[in-house]
Amino acid sequence: MFDSLTDRLQDVFKRLRGHAKLSEKQVQEVMREIRLALLEADVNFKVAKEFVSQVQERAVGQEVLQSLTPAQQVIKIVNEEMVELLGSKENAVNFSGKLPVTIMLIGLQGSGKTTAAAKLARHLKSKGRSPMLVAADVYRPAAVEQLKVLGEKIGVEVTGSANQKPLDIVEKAVKAALKAGHDTVIIDTAGRLHIDSEMMQEISQIKKRFKPQEILLTVDAMTGQDAVNVALAFKEQVDFDGIVLTKLDGDARGGAALSMRAVTGKPIKFASVGEKLEDLEPFYPDRMASRILGMGDMLSLIEKAQSAYDENKAAELERKLRKQQFTLEDFLDQMQELKKMGPLDQLLGMVPGLGQKMKGVSFDEGQMKRVEAIIQSMTRDERVNPNIIGASRRKRIAAGSGTTTQDVNRLLQQFKEMQKLMKQFGKLGGRKASRAFPFQM
């Protein structure tokens, strides 16, 4: 139904060009598209509106980085703002206070509480804690069994029975945990609607009585506009410390994360990414932001356009260049890195400023493939130390890569020259050496 945001933005990109500062009009044009992308991602419409107008205000008048187009610059700002909003310092579990540390999971029906409880237990156990699971869902058929089956899988004790009151279950469990030397108690509660005041009362009573260090609201990543109502109601009636965002292994864009964070201020502490008990992750605000914006490709291009190369790799490469250890293997790596970014001519066309400079240079992908094939036909030793490649090896490599010995010769020759060049760069100590694609065939 929708083209991807990146596609739709192509138009805007074409129109907006070359200003030193972002004008109001430029920012507005991009922001309109951003707002649509947010709605498509299920960000609550009010949150989307406010977020966009807030970022818009900040973006106008900002300088456009030399390496970016105005539109890219706006997106960069949007992305940064979103990462900042989604992120938080308080994303760790609170283990301070009286033992046993008590963690309680709450949320709507079917959001993934029971699964998340078991996952947390597994995780904490693997970190050396001694957790106990408490089944306080006495309503859903076989809810207690479900937790027991999961507990057994991970070797964690489970208490609770469907014939008792949740408050009593927790009371007994806490006592039992202390006696058995468990330092952590994880309470699984029944799913409930935020408008069911009796059920909401039940968990606030547990909270009042046992003062859990962590109350985690479990929310399905597929949730739509209603996420704000749910999160606000749980906050007002019970209050919680963090959010577990579940079912992120699907393709939902997960705008609920932004909505809930914006309206409750509560951090998202965990991401659940599957049905298996090891499928629990910390929450990564940057990944979430590009998921919500639905433009991972664009963002990575912006990143690359800024730094031209992955920082770590660049540093690694720089080190090798200085020590003159840059091998054909590294070269192959670098080529593949570049290829990952997409068809070269398209890619270069998108990098502002480059399009012009690259006019005379044709990037022949066929030739790149040939170079790749040649290097791939070499042994590891040969790649690391091309000096050992004599006539017979050249013949073998040519045959293996479906090229001629002339092709192999040319590559080796160019590589040698490049190494020389690198040496000079190395002496200059320039970072730039590692930035450019070293070869032009």
Binding site: Q54, I195, G224, D251
Partner: protein
């Protein structure tokens, strides 16, 4: 000199991080492998069907499935982290930011009436201006109808108002409800029965939408209509899924056919149909494990269940259970399930909450799948036949 040292140290750190990443990747690969083995085994288990041909097919299937699983699992997650360790640490929000967030929070805690009020006010003032249409669009969007569909509804209403020369506010509001209700009146409602044998109803959907509970409600509904029903516990994957269905079966008073946890789902469904045929039972309702529509191997498993059952009798209903809190992803889900197993109807659950389930408007419009029932609670009587007019009414209240 000193600066050089610092640089070296930084590089070392970077190298260390790289190594860490690689180790993590390796750990991930090995856990993926473990998982594949697990699923491969589960798929290979055959249950109690003795038909040789069926066995051969299911075995061939296991290999296919493992291959599909390899693809589906390729984008796995990073494995380990410290519980107390900080993850990423963007800076604290600044004062300005806090300002707009506070405003937003205040605005939102005023409830939904805040949303429909301007519309009523505009209607009362007979002012069909830009603000009015924008407000109407927002009401639709806030009900998860989605932007493209909301725009379409608004356009349809505009046309209608002009054509009918509507002046009265009540009529304008009615036009909105009518347009939505019309879009929702596609296809047949109610359960279609097989005239020449056992009726098989396959219940599918993503995780946690309410499939098992809906089956209990449906069984009860049919039971009350004088039909005989048995349940097939074909969710052999989720912890205690079989017990959950069994408890419901007992409450409703219908039999549940089950195998061991982890056994072949298709075999369970097949056995249930066979049992129904032998005992002259009217209908079999098959509970399947929740699965995300993006998981290729799991979607294939669903196709297989249907195929194997259809060696006995045609599957007359494939019901997709959709959670009303679901946003725009609902459309993608419906599209994918339709493509894989040919969905014949939707059950929209959890409408007893505050979510409106508006995505079904887009689903009906694009895919033409009728909504057959709605779920309005966790008890077995909390199932209602779908009523387009009532649904449209609720969207605008």
């Amino acid at each position: 000199m000193a600066q050089g040292d610092k640089k070296e140290a930084r590089k070392d750190r970077k190298e260390g991080k790289k190594l860490e990443r690689e180790q993590r990747r390796a750990a991930r690969r090995s856990s993926e492998q473990e998982f594949l083995r697990e699923t491969g085994e589960a798929a290979g288990e055959l249950g109690e069907i003795d038909e040789a041909a069926l066995e051969a097919e299911a075995l061939g299937y296991a290999a296919e499935e493992a291959a599909a699983g390899a693809e589906a699992q390729s984008e796995a997650s990073e494995a380990e982290w410290e519980p107390g360790a900080e993850v990423e640490e963007p800076a604290e929000p600044e004062e300005a930011r806090k300002g707009w967030l506070r405003k937003l929070r205040e605005g939102l805690s005023r409830s939904r009436t805040g949303l429909t009020m301007p519309l009523s006010r505009a209607l009362a003032a007979r002012r069909f201006d830009e603000d009015f249409w924008e407000n109407a669009e927002e009401i639709l969007i806030s009900a998860d109808v989605g932007l493209p569909m909301s725009v379409e509804v608004v356009e349809a209403v505009k046309t209608r108002l002009t054509a009918l020369k509507v002046k009265e506010p009540e009529e304008a509001l009615q036009a909105f409800k009518d347009v939505v209700a019309e879009k929702l009146s596609v296809g047949e409602t109610g359960i279609k029965f097989n005239p020449d044998g056992v009726t098989v109803i396959l219940v599918v959907g993503v995780n946690g939408t309410g499939k098992t509970t809906t089956i209990a409600k449906l069984a009860n509904y049919m039971h009350e209509q004088g039909k005989t029903v048995i349940l097939a516990a074909a969710d052999t994957f989720r912890a205690a899924a079989i017990e959950q269905l069994e408890v419901w079966g007992e409450r409703v008073g219908v039999h549940t056919v089950k195998h061991r946890p982890g056994s072949d789902s298709a075999a369970v469904a097949y056995d249930a149909v066979e049992a129904a045929q032998a005992r002259g039972i009217d209908a079999v309702i098959v509970d399947t494990a929740g699965r995300l529509h993006t998981k290729v191997n799991l979607m294939e498993e669903l196709r297989k269940i249907k195929r194997i059952v259809e060696r006995k009798v045609p599957v007359t209903e494939v019901l997709l259970v959709l959670d009303a809190t679901t946003g725009q992803n609902g459309l993608i889900q419906a599209r994918q399930f339709k493509e894989t197993v040919g969905v014949t109807g939707i059950v929209l659950t959890k409408l007893d909450g505050t979510a409106k389930g508006g995505i079904v408007v887009a689903i009906e419009h694009e895919l033409g799948i009728p909504i057959k029932f709605i779920g309005v609670g966790e008890k077995m009587h909390d199932l209602l036949p779908f009523d387009p007019t009532g649904f449209a009414e609720a969207l605008f209240s």
